[in-house]
């Protein structure tokens, strides 16, 4: 049941007042003297070569400082090294930054996808740049683009991700799938291209000091990654590249990798010798900063007549661009972990097409993967005439189904139980098309949610001041999630300093290393670094105290001393003998004391499996004549270890559910089938849910702190909310209508 010891206090955001008053300064809002503005020219063919670029009219247009093209960029921006760096194969070391596109912008005359940058105009004002960009004339030798999975599979050898952790195999699925005496299901589910669409579009301001010092204000999920890539690209000392990003206005994965606009801004600033701001227009967000690849997923299930899974096979096809690196891994951490099946097979194939490069989008892989598997399980429940919750309980996996080690702090059964109770699931009529509200069809559906617990490396610096205030720093990020607040809470608790007296600083590459804010890793990873730096702080205070004749701890061994209460260290064995942080500093004549933790690889515990879990229950209502699906109620129960801030955590789950409703019902980036240009490339046509689409959403947390995972006990929860919700909605639509739509989004035309 809901366990109060997992829920931290519901703190309002420490950055709330700055946000609502407009004082929170986002990356592109910094006012840099003499700053010029960039505007892109994008390819309107999807494949081919540039045969000529006429930039004369643009160059002579008022205010224009430079027009960069593949013909002049390398020389103008002295960017030869940059092109070479990008041509080299990129390893898997995510701590050095992430590139999903293995090509520097303006590197050559090749066009790989529509929307690719072919020129950049820099002018004194954004209006001048935009106008001059319209005067650039590009001539192409177009070739027939490959745009779909069907065409790609015929045209060239697809890429299989070779990694054994992705192509999973447990036993042999084929005998059970061929057994005509058991219950079997074989269906294909597809999801469309989805685009992140944070309200703050991506953007970069680049400012050079001479040729060897670079500062960028960049809207990013990874300041240290941007720093590392830029330093290597231009051959700069790492400390000579500064990246600043105190606030991010939403990201959802599209600001995790370094995208071409960051390089273009730095090239433009180098070429013009003035700072340059390149703030992406909304349209460029559909081609220039990644998207979620469409998927085609075939699920085959075999089960005994009482519902025991004998085989699960999950075969996925996804897309990437000809210059893309990213692979959406749909099955490995959904089908590969979720149910105790006798046999499991997961296959992933990636097809290159002439469409812009995809990237991480909230719960990358798991989100579409869980959708497909959880719809298939729902279909199986009808074949078995078994309640969908019962079917999942029947196949509950206490141990990791492939590694066969226990899951740590898994409380999924409680999540099903509490969710069913809060939702009123027992009142569900199992037949389809039977529940009504007046003229409206009513459907109830559910699905499991899951997301792996990821762990990365981070370090932190703590400064304790003699007046009792503390400052903690880490080059981590707040994407709008509430990270500032959660890290202030963790710092307060770990350091032993009142919440109001802690300042947590992030978003600067000057601070100790923070990893990419992705994969729901930040709270646990940075929390662990804060835990470590707090230990160092208490040790440093102990060392001062034991040398101070006026301290009650004088002469004790620092090893015997620890924090016993906020603001005090004491002998572990005799906590009455204690001293206060501020007294220690005061007597030592110190204004402050500073400690910094070391960056090291995270400790891995191979004896357990770490994964977060949850269950969504939802209700839809549908007019049978004009069948637009309205979600009217959602209950979500999550098991993510400890919840640091009950308020912002609840908001995170609500946000995931809202985004999942969009995935289920409305969101799709459609492309012109001939040219490959995105047809949908603005917020009017790309339908994220509006307030009117979002029902009351109840969120509950169950479980216990997962201290086997990290000392904070938190497994992270930024992604899990979106996993499973699209399946819960699709399953509810089937329950309401008797019609199974296996192709998202479920728009009215698919229910007519």
């Amino acid at each position: 049941m809901a366990n109060s010891n997992i829920l931290g206090p519901a703190r309002s955001r420490v950055d709330g007042p700055l946000k609502v008053t407009g004082y929170a300064k986002y990356a592109v809002e910094f006012e840099i003297p003499k700053c010029a503005y960039a505007w892109p020219v994008e390819s309107n063919i999807a494949k081919g070569k540039i045969t000529a670029i006429d930039i004369k009219a643009a160059q002579t247009s008022p205010g224009v400082l430079a027009v960069l093209t593949h013909q002049n960029a390398s020389k103008m921006a002295d960017a030869k090294g940059l092109f070479e760096e990008f041509a080299e194969a990129h390893g898997e070391d995510m701590s050095q930054g992430i590139r999903n596109e293995q090509r520097a912008p303006l590197a050559d005359d090749e066009i790989h996808y529509a929307g690719q940058y072919v020129a950049l105009v820099v002018a004194q004002t954004i209006e001048q740049a935009r106008h001059a960009a319209s005067l650039v004339r590009v001539s192409y030798a177009p070739e027939l683009p490959i745009l779909t999975m069907e065409d790609a599979s015929k045209a060239k050898k697809p890429k299989k991700k070779q990694d054994e952790t992705i192509q999973l195999r447990k036993g042999n699925v084929e005998p059970a799938l061929a057994n005509q005496n058991i219950i079997r299901l074989h269906e294909t589910y597809s999801t469309p291209t989805e685009t992140h669409n944070p309200i703050e579009t991506s953007g970069t301001i680049a400012a050079w000091e001479g040729d060897d010092k670079l500062t960028v204000w960049d809207s990013t999920q990874f300041v240290k990654g941007v720093q590392s890539i830029l330093a290597r690209s231009y051959g700069l000392k790492i400390e000579n590249v500064r990246v600043i990003c105190p606030f991010v206005g939403g990201a959802f994965g599209c600001k995790g990798a370094l995208w071409p606009h960051v390089l273009l801004a730095t090239m433009a600033a180098r070429a013009t010798r003035v700072p340059v701001k390149f703030h992406l227009p909304r349209k460029a967000m559909f081609t220039g900063t990644g998207h979620r690849t469409p998927t085609s997923q075939t699920i085959s299930l075999a089960a005994t007549s009482n519902g025991k899974l004998q085989a699960i096979k999950h075969v996925t096809g996804t897309l990437t661009s000809p210059v893309g690196e990213f692979v959406e891994v749909c099955g490995a951490r959904s089908t590969g972990v979720m149910y105790a099946s006798e046999t499991i097979r997961v296959e992933e194939t990636v097809y290159p097409v002439n469409v812009a490069t995809p990237t991480f989008m909230r719960a990358p892989g798991e989100c579409p993967g869980v959708y497909a598997l959880e719809c298939a399980l729902d279909e199986l429940s009808y074949l078995l005439q078994m309640d969908p919750v019962e079917l999942r309980l029947m196949n509950h996996a206490a141990n990791h189904p492939i590694r066969d080690v226990p899951f740590s702090a898994k409380h999924l059964k409680e999540a099903y139980q509490l969710g069913a109770e809060k939702f009123g699931w027992s009142k569900r009529n199992p037949q389809t098309g039977q529940m009504r509200d007046g003229n409206l069809l009513v459907g109830w559906g559910m699905a499991t949610a899951t997301y792996p617990a990821h762990k990365m490396s981070a370090a932190a610096k703590a400064i304790l001041h003699v007046d009792g205030r503390a400052t903690v720093q880490c080059a981590t990020h707040d994407l709008g999630t509430g990270a500032y607040t959660a890290f202030t809470q963790i710092s307060s608790e770990q350091l032993g300093v009142p919440f109001e007296q802690v300042t947590f600083e992030l978003g600067k590459s000057d601070y100790p290393f923070g990893p990419v804010a992705g994969g729901s890793n930040s709270t646990g990873t940075v929390g662990t670094a804060i835990h470590e730096v707090a230990q160092l702080l208490h040790r440093a205070l102990a060392e001062l105290a034991v040398k101070d004749a006026r301290s009650p701890l004088h002469g004790s061994r620092p090893n015997d001393i620890a924090m016993v209460a906020p603001g005090r260290i004491a002998l572990r064995k005799n906590p009455v003998t204690s001293d206060s942080f501020t007294d220690i500093l005061q007597r030592a004549g110190r204004d402050s004391i500073t400690v910094e933790s070391e960056l090291k690889d995270p400790e891995e515990n191979e004896k357990l499996a770490f994964q977060s879990w949850g269950a969504h229950f939802c209700e839809v209502k549908i007019d049978s004549l004009l069948p637009r699906v309205q979600v009217t109620r959602v209950v979500s129960v999550m098991n993510c270890g400890r919840i640091v801030n009950a308020k912002t955590a609840r908001s995170q789950i609500i946000g995931g559910v809202v985004m999942g409703i969009g995935m289920a019902l409305t969101e799709e980036t459609a492309y012109d089938p001939k040219t490959g240009l995105p047809a949908i490339a603005n917020l009017a046509d790309y339908h994220v849910p509006t307030n009117a689409d979002v029902p009351p959403i109840e969120v509950y947390f169950v479980g216990e702190p997962d201290y086997a995972f990290n000392p904070i006990g938190a497994r992270g929860m930024g992604e899990i909310g979106i996993t499973g919700i699209a399946a819960a909605v699709a399953n509810a639509v089937y329950h309401a209508t008797g019609k199974r739509v296996r192709d998202l989004p479920i728009t009215p035309d698919k229910l007519i």
């Binding site: 935009r130 319209s134 089938p673 240009l677 046509d685 307030n691 009117a692 007519i752």
Partner: protein, 330 residues
């Protein structure tokens, strides 16, 4: 966006003069569509003539109970909530409130709404090489493209775009009259003649001359318009253009339909007055079969494409639903 001049004339005569002497000039009302199109590079006026200070923001009764007059600068939000509109023409209020978002409605004007341009993807983004509306003679990209939101009635091989306005569908149903001022004086254009079908000149949206200024929209007195309704079917609950919409009113007498008025949105290059359905309903009993027959009659000539054929069935169902709703009104 290209460089342009800006002026703010003191009266409508000066406004009309500034546009009459400059073929590339455009009037600026709320700007919710024009500025967007300028940013996209679709509209490239060399001068914006800002008419926001002209005294055209009144809603007033016409003498002798002949109807009401809506000034061209009345904002969509104000019009939707105006007591004369909510009492006498609920269909118009509902249509306005179903469109755009509150922020857009607060700026968008009555005159500007009449001149909204299509949301066809191939028109809206100049990266697409083919669009006969934006670039006559270049072809229609939508015809064999992603045409999910496109027309099923009255289209041509040159253009299958739809008119995006909700307000205009209600106005078409209500037989509104658009009043315009030009160098030659004032004239009145019945709404049915205001917007055009694409034919071979899809680049011309309306019969308004480039040097004419919309000053008002007149609504005739229609007593039975109190029994009217606007039904909009869209992909999400709010802030989406219509897949199909229906403005309907019924004049009932002893359980019989004396006359019916129906207009459709989202299906054609202009707000589509459903004359065939209206004829089919006149003199019929109020019953579902009559509604279905009327819908079938109207959509008999409809033609769908790869992605939008569903609209034919959806339009029929929407007509039936709208009429059912109107018939049940008190």
């Amino acid at each position: 966006m290209n460089p342009f001049d800006y002026s703010r004339p003191p009266d409508w005569q000066a406004a009309v003069n500034s546009v009459a002497t400059d073929a590339q000039a455009k009037f600026l009302g709320g700007g919710t569509n024009l500025i967007d199109l300028m940013k996209m590079g679709v509209e490239t006026p060399d001068r914006l003539v800002d008419i926001n200070r002209l005294p055209l923001a009144q809603v007033e009764e016409l003498p002798g109970n002949t109807g009401i007059r809506i000034g061209a600068l009345v904002r969509n939000s104000d019009l939707a909530e105006h007591p004369l509109i909510t009492a006498r023409y609920p269909v118009l209020s509902e249509a306005l409130l179903s469109g755009a978002s509150p922020q857009l409605r607060n700026l968008a004007t009555t005159g500007g709404n009449l001149l909204q341009r299509t949301r066809c993807y191939y028109f809206y983004d100049p990266a697409f090489p083919m669009c006969n509306k934006r670039n006559p003679g270049s072809g229609c990209g939508a015809l064999e493209g992603y045409n999910r939101i496109h027309a099923i009635l009255g289209q041509s091989e040159q253009c299958i775009a739809t008119h995006p306005s909700d307000m205009c569908v209600a106005l078409a149903m209500l037989d509104a009259v658009v009043r315009v001022q030009g160098p030659a004086g004032e004239r009145a254009i019945p709404i049915a003649n205001f917007h055009r079908l694409p034919g071979i000149t899809p680049n011309v949206d309306t019969n308004l001359q480039t040097n004419e200024l919309i000053t008002a929209v007149d609504l005739p007195a229609i007593p039975f318009a109190t029994r009217s309704h606007y039904l909009k079917v869209r992909d999400r609950a709010s802030y989406a253009f219509a897949l199909v919409s229906v403005a309907a009113a019924l004049e009932l007498e002893n359980g019989m339909i004396k006359s019916a008025r129906i207009a459709l949105g989202g299906v054609a290059h202009k707000p589509w007055r459903a004359a065939k359905a209206e004829q089919a309903l006149a003199g019929k009993k109020v019953e579902a079969a009559a509604f279905s027959a009327a819908a079938d009659a109207e959509l008999a000539a409809a033609k769908g494409y790869q992605y939008n054929s569903f609209k034919i069935e959806l339009a029929k169902r929407a007509i039936v639903q709208a009429l059912t709703t109107v018939a049940a009104l008190p």
